[in-house]
Symmetry: D3
Subunit: 323 residues, 6 copies
């Protein structure tokens, strides 16, 4: 079918086919599952699951709406001077077929799918879904790379359980540490009210180092300070998990447990972009907690698509640098 798009890394051309035409894939990239034969280095994967949330649901529609808003992405990243899709020969790998009623079974399926991707030599760029899905991704990525995790969030996410349940969007990080999947964590953007003063104590007891950078500290020291801290701290294999609620609700209303006082979209894009100058290896990325039913004018999904674009650009820069 020569008519249609099928070249990895090349989105359907908006100057020929209007952006609002044709079935929707991420960034209008081809929908391809055979990564190895196509030499794909970066794949978008959706995980439409919100069975791990503690308050509002809706994140199961995250992949659908992020794909929809991603149609505005164009091939060239001028700020970083790179063509992320072409360099990564990027594709849309489709979604994990989750089990909506079971976190545990869904984590298994995520692990299987992500292993498919990394075993074919591609880096996964995952769109959730609630934050519980990150555990599934880390079971694949973490067992291979045991990365340092850069964790954007307004919440600590290392609580032990909710209502007796151990696998939720607020406990995934403790589980990942307990399962030995990661070598450390840097948390950025933490704010809002806490359950208890003792919430912070797990960070000290944790078997791997956890550094928590509160939003209040960023406000005092500034974004430039934060960028420098991250650049200096990130080394070796790094996995980035980006909870969209690290962003202020004005910029990202579409998420389930919102905390006012977060990053602006400009700050977030600047921070992510700045990581292109750090010397680490990006081994995986996810953006989670985009809940389209709570969104307004789809701006949360739009921002999420742009953050994925910057993450792909970082990887592309690393690929070029290595090459």
């Amino acid at each position: 079918m020569s008519w249609f798009w099928n070249v990895p890394g090349f989105p359907l051309d908006a100057l020929k086919s209007p952006r609002f035409a044709q079935p929707i894939t991420f960034a209008r990239l081809p929908f391809i599952r055979n990564l190895r034969d196509n030499n794909v280095l970066g794949a978008f994967i959706g995980v439409p699951f919100d069975g791990g949330t503690t308050f509002y649901t809706g994140a199961r529609l995250g992949p659908q709406f992020i794909r929809s808003e991603s149609r505005l992405l164009r091939p060239y990243n001028a700020e970083l001077d790179v063509y992320p899709f072409r360099v990564l020969r990027a594709v849309d790998y489709g979604d994990v077929d989750v089990v909506p009623t079971s976190v545990v079974k869904t984590l298994d399926r995520i692990e299987v799918t992500i292993n498919e991707v990394i075993n074919q030599g591609a880096t996964p760029f995952v769109a959730g879904g609630d934050h519980s899905i990150t555990l599934g991704v880390l079971r694949a990525v973490g067992r291979r790379f045991r990365p340092l995790v850069l964790h954007f969030d307004s919440h600590l996410d290392y609580w032990d359980e909710y209502w007796g349940e151990r696998y939720t969007h607020g406990t995934w990080l403790r589980r990942a540490i307990e399962e030995g999947l990661i070598s450390g964590v840097i948390q950025v953007g933490i704010r809002g009210s806490q359950y208890d003063k003792s919430d912070f104590e797990y960070a000290k007891a944790s078997p791997v180092p956890i550094r928590t950078i509160m939003m209040s500290e960023v406000e005092v020291r500034g974004i430039d300070w934060l960028i420098n801290e991250l650049r200096n701290s990130l080394k070796g294999p790094v996995y980035i998990t980006f909870d969209i609620d690290s962003i202020d609700p004005a910029y990202a209303p579409g998420t389930g447990t919102r905390e006012p006082g977060g990053f602006t979209s400009r700050e977030a894009l600047t921070i992510i972009r700045s990581l292109s100058q750090a010397s680490f290896e990006l081994v995986g990325f996810d953006i989670v907690e985009v809940s389209p039913p709570l969104d307004t004018a789809n701006i949360t999904s739009l921002l999420a698509a742009n953050i994925i674009y910057q993450a792909m650009s970082i990887k592309a820069k690393q690929v070029i640098g290595v090459g």
Copy 2:
């Protein structure tokens, strides 16, 4: 605290306290858990759970929004000439504390709560939540009464499983039959496309009688025919489960698996109201699948509140009749 409302059966008076004032309970009735000492005969209970859905979520917010819209309910039902709240000494019992990530654990908790209610001599009027919760209610009500179930829905809901999961909003009815909780089913409003012709075969194999009245049959024979059929068929203990998607999406857009071509609100209210003339005993009622995030102008929650009101009126008529 004489200031505030605390008499079962008597809503806060809108001629004194505006409807939009004060924390919200169902119909502005008092929030009371000690039913026996208050001689409560009818209790509103919320089950804010949507972990059993197969498509769109949001039904966990059903009880909140139904309560909010129920503030328009007034004490006297002129069409049936009854004061439902006063007769039932009705109260708001609060919600079941569900386990959002587990259908199975939630079913246990529902059963416990409903048993609390019926053991104190009150009939439960339940607001879901997705349709999986009905199984939990029936485990309490069904074990005591083994009722005939009057089932308003656009879907059959006796599928065996989804993605290998046996407890969902599409399988509760088969489970209830398998668990011996009910003595028969009359389904009303079924329509829309089906998975397969064989979907209907379980009705024949079922250990208890299942009568399925398709919407297309109602269209041909008319509402009056339907009312007569129901009046003639309903005897002994009856449990009514009302899936809001039996209503047309124009009247009830706020639900997760919508099928055009359903009942209008006028038809639904007329049908429910007409049951006051049948000679059965209402042993429980639920309305499910109201999903406020999908709603527009809260009309689905408003209709649900009015249907509960009619159901309470039927029970009140039965109580008076018995008295």
Copy 3:
């Protein structure tokens, strides 16, 4: 300024100036206040007031949104074979400058404005605003014509007071009777729950006849019966007040005290249109309780605009008939 529209009865032509262009007036008719010199027989007047509501507000935006949706109205009413605007030389008279914080002062201002209109020989077609405004209109129209009132509503509106207040959207009818403004009332569409059985007793005690046609009666006897009843009952000067909540919430969600089970838009348009065959004199019309912030897709305002159009058509038919 020959460029622009200024001929009474002739809307700006959508075949030349697109419907979405130019500042908005009712039906794109000219905005004119000198009625007598223009021989205007019918004038649209807005009363943007919602200070008399007991639950949700928003009706102050009724005139704005009804004007906006009225841009779809075209000159020729095929069903009634009449050009209502041309016959009435209809114009948009603008709004009453209400006092948002005071029902009492606003009623005075309404009376003044409506007197301006009727003193110039035009029939007022009023868009509210909440139902309290009808009292102001009747103080002008009623003192001149002492009409029979045809009252579409889901509520009785003859309560005595709310929170000690005598002028509200639920008490205007009793005030109008007490003030001797009307000769009788026919209420159509009443439904929903009532405060008390005694609510209906005022109808018997009232100094003028009140006939209340419940929606439940219409359901049993049918729309044709209702039309006949109205045709036979309406004689002499008649004022029509149309509370949009007489319509079902699916068709008119944008109103503050909604009751499921009302008229469909098709029924409402048919009923209104059918009145063109009755032998009464329409001396005034209002449509009230359109609350755009509660609306979805502006369908309530759209329906209201179409009902006004039918009411103008009735008057136009009467004018032609008399002519």
Copy 4:
């Protein structure tokens, strides 16, 4: 890629892959362009164009949202006892790459694409887009079949021009007649205000017969009468064009020029379904004027998807009957 769906006529199975997972195609059917080799008899085609509208835009998003809502469609049509997708070996053919700024160029592209489909032996089921696109479809279908057109609409659509423009959503029918593409027209659902009494005169002057069934006539004579009229009138090759504004705004708010008083969804589905018993050959179908930005809760797109489903079912019945 055995993992994914690729068999014409078989949607992705919701019992295995949740409905909200995976990139979206119509009814979750495979996205395939080679129709002949797959023996495809029915193809869904989107035409995302709204450059021909006279009031509100947004119909360019019709195909996207209809696809999204079509995920609820299941394989078996119980009312008609047919598996439409399997019988037609149905697929999603993707969209026409329209030229958003030019009606004329877009009509050319539509014609090319539809010719691709019919030349491969498949019947096109088209989702617009505004009504101007029907002219493009008819240039392909009409030149081959010169069909009778069954035209559901609230508007006549045979005006000559708007603002000097001859190709718009209100003039396509006159152009189609002038171009000799069709053998006659039956219009159903016409209502609302008209520009002028003379609007109806073209029907008499037209070189092919135009029968206009006003909504007011349907109200008087009933739906059964309409169904009989259509069954008796439809013979030979028939093309159905379904303007969603033939439906009442309560059921289909998402369209640009709405007229209250239209069909309910139940009536529409019944009428369409009933055509399975008429003896004509369906040579093409379109549903137009779905404008998702004006919609609420996507119910208009949902209804459109269901109407397409019924249309496919009719064709499937005809195929089986012929076979």
Copy 5:
């Protein structure tokens, strides 16, 4: 009923009862009116009144939606190292039963209720309602404390009257000064267009000092400067009134008279939090003009809930410091 929450200062535990379960009170605190016997030091009170607005209404729903969004508040304020609810033994006192049609009568009722609260030894934390309600609160608080008022707003609010009315949301401050209720005012955030240059002159003529800090001055001098100014100026009894329109519409769209160019949520939270280091006594607090019908995704209510939380934290710090 030991099952349910009833201990002042302790919210229902989200780790046991999901946040979306149970009837809603502020921060899930108990609903208690007997403050003295419970040693309550801080009480949330709603004033659901919008009869004093000059443009858009909707603020009568403020308390309802602020309560709803407050469910995300947790017990521990990490930035200020304090448990505000526990220290204040905080409760939800319910709403003032306002008279929706009368500002004057409502002001009386507010005064009565607030006196109940302060006479029992608790500090009121009030959620409006439009800004006219602050006059009612000050009649209670001001007569006891004659506080300095810290006034966040984009408007001056000391106009004399609107349409001849003296009690509105734009005149409360002048009335409070005239009634001798306050000792001075510091206004922060003023911006947007003004009626006239003379608007500012009342500040000079006022019998108590009025300091007006324009937003344009804050932009030039910075937030740190503002914080220092406030810390230095606030002494003795201080009442804080926070008009949510001091926040930029991107962060607080849900309000009736919006002015672009306001504070961000981060700035607002930082400023409020910083006041914990000033040496004044907080004698009352209100947040007003939250209008949920105008909001998007409830972010305005969410921000308001968080600002109340910070205000309670300041008081708690003061209580501890005093203790």
Copy 6:
């Protein structure tokens, strides 16, 4: 008609006629077309056209919604100490009667209307409509003044064509240069992904100087730097075109091709306001791409109205300075 407003420069007084009353014009200014006899120096003109967009439509409703939100504008600009409406004797000139289906014909009509305005001695303040309309305005303004264009945007807008079409919202700037209408361009706010590295090359090849200030440069150097750059660069006749998508989507979600990371409303107002101190002559202004159907809570239209207000204030200051 002395009752109503008709004095250029004087809005209807909100202290007498509530803001939500009366048909809507820009800033409640009189609707007048005879500019010369009224000595009008500044006129608001709407251009409701979105036929040149490449993605989402809706900008045809820009003038309607900007007018609606402009009702909050008051006569006095305190920051600039000027009464813009009075100085300019400002009026609402109404809209250009566009041809919705044709960019080319619409450009002609715009040119005619703008020439009417400038030939009468008034400066046009235009509200689009999509960005293609700027070409029409420049054909009038540019031929007289050949101005330097200050271009706020997130996109370059000097692409050559889309789908073979030369007149779109992404190509107007190249056309304006080719037609010799302007003397140079300063672009501010450019960001987001690009089609290709070569996109920027036209700036070098252009016959007039194009300076492109990327948003990333503004982030590094700061807003003060940008203000200085603009003040120093703007001389002689200047035309300002303000694409609302230069603003961040959190502040301006209502636009068709959004790019996260833009200006805040505070920054935008500060920048515009600061231009009052530069020594150029403002010969025309437009704000484009406001798409109300995509907006939330109308905040984009509100911001646009405020930006126009600041632009009028600049012109007023220039008029006074010259005077």
